[in-house]
């Protein structure tokens, strides 16, 4: 769908253009018609004047009273001509000199070629005088009027074009200005996606305010639900795991026989299953407004904490201290916690963790100097990560959890051998919105 801006501008442009074209055309025409009518009415007056100047008392020939003829008809080639035909006698204006006016079929003719090749407007009218027909033809040079009308029309067109352009500019500005709140909201939605804001705060025009409010409400609802479900899951975990811990204690106290081994195995299965399902349910995934503001501080604390648990292993973080990541903090801590703890379990002395921002997201590499695994096992470890119930201890559960979180974030995970530390290297890329 075309943008609102485009649609508004195009339709306004079209309506403006239509209006100005119609206006110019109508006014131009009207001016032509008006000036012609003006001319015709004057010429008709002149005709009547000529009729009054015509003196005819048979048997003498008809003559024109020269005093009553407008002087413009006396000047040669003045552009004003007449020709009177009465009883086979032709009288014509002095201005015609030796020329004659052409015959006329109707009452009015435009563009008659007259003397000196000028365009004439010619009127012909018949009167009856003493039982005889008097035909008075009167003509006037219209080239002057034509040129003034044309220049007027030109000016009109120029003005209309200029006015239209100006109005278009004004309209473009008006459209842009009135769509500004929409632009602000769009920007905020982008920020929301990146996790820079928690809700839309820009004041919106009343037409879209309900939409903004709805979005804000949904966001709040989502965050509340996540919090509530996480809390409930925590309680569930607590309620399930404490009895499991007791059961484990009791079973371990029994003297070793086959049943005890079986029971311990089953307990372990249950533990793994619960752990994985809880992580799956707890993962928020990519949610608007989710931001991990201080990854460096959190990871630094985590590394310090893991150092207490694995005192012989040196964990080094390679990351930008000021970076922030548009993802849920708890999800990411879960991801990094499992990754680094796993690496620590297998490393002999060193673990490196690289985090770097990329164009479309960020990438993570966690490498250790442990034994690593052979290439053939990469795939099975990744697949086993997806099938929790069959995986064994060690890398298994941690990987299952990591795998679960990454799949929720549409990320990618590959395994390789570390170039620097020669143990296992886990490569993860997560895409940011």
């Amino acid at each position: 769908m075309a943008s609102l801006n485009q649609r508004l501008t195009l339709s306004l442009m079209a309506s403006l253009a239509l209006f100005f074209i119609a206006q110019t055309w109508i006014i131009g025409n009207e001016v032509e018609v008006l000036s012609e009518q003006n001319l015709i009415s004057r010429m008709e007056h002149d005709q009547e004047e000529l009729l009054a100047a015509l003196q005819w008392s048979p048997p003498s020939l008809p003559v024109l009273d020269a005093d009553r003829i407008p002087s413009i008809y006396q000047r040669p080639f003045s552009g004003h001509y007449f020709q009177i035909e009465v009883a086979d006698i032709k009288l014509h204006s002095r201005s015609l000199w030796d020329e004659t006016l052409p015959e006329l079929a109707g009452v009015l003719e435009r563009n008659v070629m007259g003397p000196k090749q000028v365009h004439l407007l010619m009127l012909s009218r018949e009167f009856t005088m003493l039982g005889q027909q008097v035909k008075i033809r009167i003509a006037e040079d219209i080239s002057h009027i034509e040129s003034t009308t044309a220049s007027f029309q030109q000016h009109l067109l120029l003005f209309a074009t200029a006015a239209m352009l100006l109005l278009l500019l004004l309209q473009a500005w008006v459209v842009l200005h009135s769509l500004k709140p929409l632009g602000c909201i769009r920007d905020q939605l982008g920020q929301l996606e990146k996790g820079e804001v928690e809700k839309i705060t820009t004041p919106a025009p009343s037409e879209i305010m309900p939409l903004v409010e709805e979005v804000n409400q949904l966001l709040q609802l989502m965050q509340q639900r996540l919090k509530r479900s996480r809390h409930a899951l925590g309680d569930l975990a607590h309620a399930l795991k404490t009895p499991l811990a007791v059961m484990g204690q009791v079973v371990q106290r029994q003297t070793g026989d086959e049943d005890q081994v079986l029971l311990l195995q089953q307990l372990q299965h249950i533990e793994r299953r619960i752990e994985l399902e809880l992580v799956r349910a707890r993962t928020a995934g990519r949610m608007p407004g989710g931001l991990w503001a201080e990854p460096f501080r959190d990871l630094n604390d985590m590394v310090y904490m893991l150092n207490q648990v694995f005192p012989s292993i040196r964990i080094t973080l390679f990351m930008d201290e000021t970076m922030s990541i548009a993802a849920d903090r708890e999800d990411m801590l879960e991801l990094f916690g499992n990754l680094i703890e796993n690496a620590c379990k297998w490393a002999s002395s060193e673990v490196y963790c690289h985090i770097s921002c990329q164009e479309q997201g960020f990438s993570i590499q966690v490498e250790d100097d442990g034994p690593g695994i052979v290439r053939d096992e990469y795939q099975s470890l990744l697949v086993r990560g997806a099938r929790a119930d069959e995986s064994k201890s060690g890398h298994g559960l941690g990987f299952s959890i990591v795998h679960e979180i990454i799949s929720v974030y549409d990320g990618k995970m590959t395994l390789s051998r570390s170039d620097t530390l020669h143990g296992l290297q886990v490569n993860i890329s997560l895409f940011q919105a």
Binding site: A237, A239, A245, Q249, L333
Partner: protein
């Protein structure tokens, strides 16, 4: 080693208490956060196991309260939620180690031993002073030099607790009352001369010079006596 266990589940609490007592800890247990918090403030514990999911008072709050009061007893946090953000927050509140439920008893013990050794300033994997080594799992002492003919020295429960405490803090002088506080739990029957009795028994097993008496002050372990040539 005096240990405080704060765990709201009665069954797990009883299980852990019994097991830890067998492993040579003087255990005081509380199933209430408020009581546990008070005990931690009033008794000189060497280590605390704290469950974060207490119904009456959140474990993190107890921890913050202690740290704010300057109580620096090492704390191992037990969490059922097992979420990493909780572990990180636990560390920020001042926890020294964490363990997710359900856990193996062996793992808990390894973590406790490591934590105790770390807090006494020893980075070694086992408790060793001079030629004397203490095996915490088997609760026996042994001489590491080949000259000695007696390799394993059997210890009773209280003897083990007493020797471990003194070996973790060599050269420091402890009064009999102090030793009682760190070797017996709150409910144990304590007689006034009980420490004297156990000290003399240890002297019989290890040699007279190992534990010295400083008149009107108390007892101390002399590392010089353990560096036999």
């Amino acid at each position: 080693m005096r240990l405080l266990l704060i765990e709201d589940d009665t069954d797990l609490c009883t299980e852990l208490t019994n097991d830890l007592r067998l492993r040579g800890y003087a255990v005081d247990a509380s199933t209430q956060g408020v009581d546990g918090c008070f005990m931690g403030e009033s008794e000189p514990y060497d280590i605390v196991i704290l469950d974060l999911g207490l119904p009456d008072l959140p474990g993190l709050q107890i921890l913050q309260q202690w740290r704010a009061q300057g109580i620096n007893t090492p704390v191992l946090v037990l969490t059922a939620r097992g979420a990493w953000h909780e572990k990180v927050e636990g560390f920020r509140a001042g926890a020294d180690d964490y363990l997710s439920k359900p856990f193996h008893m062996e793992e808990l013990c390894v973590r406790l031993q490591a934590l105790i050794r770390r807090s006494s300033g020893s980075g070694k994997a086992a408790i060793e002073v001079g030629h004397l080594r203490l095996d915490e799992d088997r609760q026996v002492a042994s001489w590491t030099d080949s000259v000695s003919d007696v390799s394993n020295i059997e210890l009773t429960g209280i003897e083990f607790r007493l020797l471990r405490y003194m070996m973790l803090h060599p050269e420091r002088i402890f009064t009999a009352t102090h030793l009682i506080e760190h070797v017996y739990d709150f409910n144990d029957e304590k007689e006034s001369n009980v420490i004297e009795v156990y000290i003399s028994r240890l002297r019989k097993k290890l040699g007279k010079a190992v534990i010295c008496t400083r008149r009107s002050q108390g007892y101390y372990l002399d590392p010089g006596a353990l560096h036999k040539d």
